[in-house]
Amino acid sequence: MELLRFTSAGSVDDGKSTLIGRLLYDTKSIFEDQYDQIKEASERKGETTVNLALLTDGLRAEREQGITIDVAYRYFATPKRKFIIADTPGHIQYTRNMVTGASTANLALILVDARHGIIEQTKRHAFIASLLGIPHIAICVNKMDLVEYKEEVFDKIKSDFENFSSKFDKLDIRYIPISALHGDNVVNKSEKMDWYQGSTLLYLLENIHIASDQNRIDCRFPVQYVLRPQSDEYHDFRGYAGRVAGGTFRPGDEVTVLPSGFTTKIKSIESMDGNLAEAFAPMSVTMTIEDDIDISRGDMIVRADNQPQMSQDVDLMVCWMNEQPLNPNGKYTIQHTSRETRCMVKEVKYKVDVNTLHRDLEDRTIGLNDIGRIKIRTMSRLFYDPYKRNRNTGSILIIDELTNETVGAGMIIE
């Protein structure tokens, strides 16, 4: 059974909660006591139907205000796959949450109301999905029941979106006409849309190919922790623990250790259950090497003939996550793979209008929920790949040095 992580973004009235509720309900993932609890809570609020949003809105403030404040994680499984849903509110002021949910997702579920077609919000979701490198997008044209299940309506929305999304590179986009309310094409195939030959949403989620979502080419192993047991049994053992960030490592491979640049060979790939023949992303393993080289946390083991870029000057697309705007001359702590260092903002190149995708060269203030392109200089060299090539080695966390808060999420461009 494989694990698929997907994110769903949408506003209150486009039927997102109903859709997720439908998926959970039809796959028997809602428990009776949970259902009773939200049923009772809905009745208490004077609502006539059971409000499935109450399932995900877990905090008191969210229930009181009837809004989703934070990313909620939901889990369900079918015999084929286990699913983790990062359910995020879709309104513009929650871009930060959408970005958070998107950062680990294999697939983005974007809902379009069949009556309204592609609206600004749809474009924003698609842009964020593309920016965060989500490999697959499922456009669910919802409320087909309200447009008499007409093929023309679906086709129009599909071609509108195709026109718009041609700006994005290599996205795998699927289109599904559904009615979340009646269950058409969600778990079961609709009887009212014979013209649609594609799969249902659940079938897509269960079968979409995700093995290639990880980078299988560029071997990257950021060293996380050094294991030195110094026991009698493992007297000279020195293991480098970490999670493979790209490519496939095998014993005997010639590798280079960065930043020192020393070249050696992998001796073994260890685990508590015995040695492994190979390790690939996202496996957590322990490596030993042939030579006695000084290696510590923050170093990166890579294939000798395929090395990452190395520089102190990097360009980022940044999503800002704090009320305090980006200081255009500021210094911040950054985290990149297993390294922590500092950076100085050198330049704000432009801000992106997330609704029109236009570059704003006039107003370059990067405030909460803004997305922009910046240039930074780091205190020590980073070993990285462009985010588009590898999410693990191309992502950066920006932290405020005074408040310790996570203020920005960066994706390396070059």
Binding site: E32, L59, D70, T100, T333, T406
Partner: protein, 301 residues
Amino acid sequence: MVDYQLNHLQELESESIFVLREVAARFERPSLMFSGGKDSIVMLHLARKAFHPCKVPFPLLHVDTGHNFPETIAFRDQLVEKIGAKLVVAKVQDSIDQGKSKEETGVNASRNGLQTVTLLDALEDLKTDAAMGGARRDEEKARAKERFFSHRDEFGQWDPKNQRPELWNLFNSKKAMGEHFRIFPISNWTEMDIWQYILAEKIDIPNLYFSHKRRCVNRDGILLAESPYLNMKENEEVKEYQVRFRTIGDMTCTGASLSDADSLEKIIEEVAATRQTERGGRSDDKRSEAAMEDRKTQGYF
């Protein structure tokens, strides 16, 4: 061609091991909360895998309410001895004796809420800067909003509306003096994942989880085990039932469920078919709709 794709348990395992190693690398004095329940047993197993062939590089901390099942305590001591870990036991009774907590009264009296005081004191004594817990997001709706690295202020409190965003696998562990972190390495596991993993890895668990005969009281639909700590109502009757426990907490608030499942395979079958949540038998969660959120805000796990 080899299909380079992990199965869901391997991927969850890898994620949790990554988190555990981050904790060891970034904090000075982490500790691992160990209750003797299945989730903390799995977390400890993952910690052993994360640091093999080294020993687990942090102590286990057990907040002992004094109302535990004796089977849990026996299991805990055996396991600790087997793996050579360091165990610290913080006793709720000590906090009561020192006048820091007050025993609840009435028939539904429980020491569950009292654990918070003892826990925060123990974390302070150990100078813990990162306390790892086996809480899972699927357990309870307030927990669905938790981070892997969850920041706590100097009072040990959780501010759910003001959490740090958590992206990719980059965790922010920055804090001011006196603050600490709660870390949840198995956030993304579900009850089913835990059971499948216990079966796949052949992990030992207390026999309370398997079907056995036990004398219980049926109180408002929840079967509570007969024990010296349970205050009885008038007219309440103790009867023998064939039961097992889905979660293990205090004897006073953990409900048993009727079950014939006496093997891991049968438990998995039962979990797959069940229509009640795991914590449905926990009377501590039934006190109000936001019972868990309120306890967590104050410093509970």
